[in-house]
Structure formats: C-alpha cells, structure tokens
Symmetry: C2
Subunit: 208 residues, 2 copies
DNA sequence: GTCGGAACTTACTCGTAGTAAGTTACTTGG
DNA sequence: CCAAGTAACTTACTACGAGTAAGTTCCGAC
C-alpha cells in the first residue's frame, strides 16, 4: 500500500543550508556550461527545488552568479597574494605569483571558467564583478611592479598602469590558452617563460 | 484626402542593397549595445523591415554578427600586418604593430566593441569567429617573434606560443583599458611602453 | 495580360528570466 | 494539545527574444 507517510527523500531545510546547496549546484553547472548556457531551471532541477525559491534567496541570475564569483575571487586572490608576499625578492615574487596563478587554475578548472573564460557578459552586475576581480589583480601587480623599481624615485604612473594591464591580460589569455591546448606546458614552464619575457623590461619604466 | 498612392517612403530594394543596409544597422547597434544587448527585433526596426527577412539573408543572430565581424577582421588585420611589414627591422616592427593596433581601435571604437570587448560569447559560431581573429593575430605575432630571433637556430615552439599569447592578451586588455579610461595615454605612449617592456625579454627565448 | 520568382509580412512556437499569489510545514506561546 | 505566526516552498502565470511556417505583394519576362 502506498502509505501516506512515505515521503522522506528531501524535506525542508533551513535557509542557510538551502543557500549552500544551491550555491554548490550553481558553481558546478556554471562551471560546466558557462553563464549563458545555464538556465535557472537547470539549477532548480539539480537542487530539487522550484525556481522562485532561488529568486527569493539570490534575487536574480546575476545575483547567483555573483555569489559563486565571490568565493572564487577571494580564494584565488589570497593564493596568489600569499605566494607573492612569501617570496624573498621581487624577481622571485614575479615568478611565484605567475606560478600560483597557473597552478590554481589547473587545480580548479571549473572555478576558472566561471571566473573568466565563459562567464563574460556584455553588461550587468556579473560583468562588473569579474571586472572587480581583475581590478584587484591589477592593483596587486602594480604594487609588485613598484616594489621592483628603485625605491624613492617617483614613477610614471601611466607606465605602471600599462605594464600592470599588460601582465593581467597576458596571464588571463595564457590561462585560457592552456585550457584549450591538449598538452599545455606545465605551470612552471609558463611562469618561467613569462618571467623571462618581462623581467628585463620591467626596469625600463621611467620616472614621471 | 489621404490618397491611396501616397506610399513612397521605402520601397522594395534588391537583395544586395538590403543586405548592406541591414549589415550597416547591425554594426551600429552591435557596436553600441554589444551582442547580448542587441535583439533581432531592434535591428529589424532600425532598418524598417521585418525580422524574418533578416533571417532569410543572414540565417541567425550569430550569422549576422559573423558578417559584421568579417569586415572588421580583414580591415584590422591588414592594417596591422601592413605596418609590421613596412618596418625596416624587428625592433621597429614590434612598435609599428602595436601602434597600428591601438590607432585603429581609437579610430573605430564601435568596430572595437563588436570585435572584442562586448561581443564575447560563451559558445557558438560567434565566439569561434572572434577566436579566429585572435588566432590570426597570434600567428602574426609568432611570426614576428621568430623573425626577431637568430636565424637558423631551432626554437622552442612552446616558448614562442607562450610569448605570442601573452602579447595578444596584453594588447587586448590594454585596448579595453584605454576605452574605459577617461584620458588614456596616446597610442604612441602605450606602444612605446609595451615595446620597452617586451623587447629585452624577447631575446631570452631558448632553443628547443 | 499572366506566370514565376524574389522581396517581404503576419502570426505564430518555444525557451528562459522573472513574479504574484497562494500552500505547507515548523515553531512557539498559551 | 492547539492555535497562530512565520519561514520554506510551489503552482501558475507574464514578458520577451530567437527562430519559423505559411503566406502575400510586387516586378520583370514572355
């Protein structure tokens, strides 16, 4: 007999638990299919919950994506910043930062595509959020670049910006390229080559 | 009297003329609002034509976007390649290539956003097309890099790829940054700084 | 003229973001 | 134990944009 009390599979959970559950599913699906390729119905189905609940908790698709981003952003930034700060000098810091970046993205491929590769939007809050992550990195790089220069001398800020933007763009593109190449060079190789490419040139930044 | 013959504003045109008209409108609107922000109804309304006609001529939204891309791609590639080829030596070629790139994008801002900044998609033919443009540039850069190296010596292809990808990423990010900065440095300044940053390091590429 | 094809439209389908309004289960005071 | 009260959750929509089926209108050739 189909007893009326036979419904134990998934009961109500409190808000915090459900939010975590939703966030986890969203990270997976966004990572697999990208922002555009993911529908809110997909996420709802995966969690086993109805769509409006997700809207109640996260407000919008952008809001959900943003929440996924926030975690990754912190994790990635910390990893790279720690590596940079632990290095004994500027030359090593440059290499260590690159290495940490490429290693992290190797080890968290779905994080990667959520953050940069697929997630890009033309406009809206999600794009703003990825830009924030980028801006934070660029600031980190600019700081490193200044550290590398003769102390006390004033510096051409435009040149620092140009260099920092270049490095950010280069590392991002390299990361994308590595995911799309069947047998990419190791993180060590890429970091080493990039360091070689940039190290000499970093001394050419002029005073302002 | 509202005479029945008072309808001269827009008559039928032959296919080629309409296609050009649609393409022109699409380039403008894609340039202003990005790929995602543009609807086929918008384009149809702008031209003063119904949506299915656009589908008949261009097949899909991707197809229309692709057609916009094709023109720009050729124009931009030619401009940069010409500048590179006209330079007397590798050092000047590097600078000339950067300069041509930044100048072109300064002079065709809407072209720019269609091509790289806003147009990015997660998947589909449009993304493939922008990737093709990028791939063409990377090949051009790789060729330049090889030219810059001692002739006859075998070269580490991984390192050339890493360097070419880096340069491509750097120039793209710099272009985006310049459009978003109120008073960006001149193309000359950016090209000069980038050249200084990279020139020394380009000699560190190793034999394979 | 009338026939044939190219140019063009109306009126849909389908999928997905987002919402209004209601229903069900848990909790807490009496 | 019971009756609110509220948090968790659902059904059943709207709105809008991509893409299509099936036609209608104009123009040129014979």
């Amino acid at each position: 007999m189909t007893s009326t009390t036979e419904r134990p599979p998934k009961r109500r959970r409190d808000r915090a638990a459900r939010e975590r559950e939703i966030l986890e599913a969203a990270e997976r699906i966004f990572g697999e299919r990208g922002y555009q390729g993911t529908s809110m119905d997909d996420v709802a189905a995966k969690v086993g919950v109805s769509k409006p609940l997700i809207y109640q908790y996260y407000g919008s698709k952008d809001g959900l994506f943003l929440a996924c981003l926030a975690r990754l952003r912190g994790h990635l930034l910390d990893t790279v910043a720690d590596a940079v700060m632990a290095a004994p000098n500027a030359e090593d810091a440059l290499y260590a930062g690159f290495l940490a970046w490429f290693r992290f993205l190797d080890e968290h491929p779905q994080a990667w595509s959520v953050l940069v590769d697929e997630g890009m939007l033309s406009a809206g809050p999600a794009a703003a959020a990825t830009d924030e992550v980028r801006a934070a990195f660029i600031e980190l790089i600019a700081t490193m670049v200044r550290m590398n220069l003769p102390a006390g001398r004033p510096v051409d800020d435009d040149e620092v910006q140009i260099v920092a933007q270049s490095i950010s763009g280069a590392t991002e593109r390299l990361a994308i390229w590595r995911t799309r190449t069947p047998t990419p060079p190791t993180p060590e190789k890429v970091a080493r080559t990039l360091q070689d490419l940039l190290w000499q040139g970093l001394h050419t930044i002029k005073s302002s």
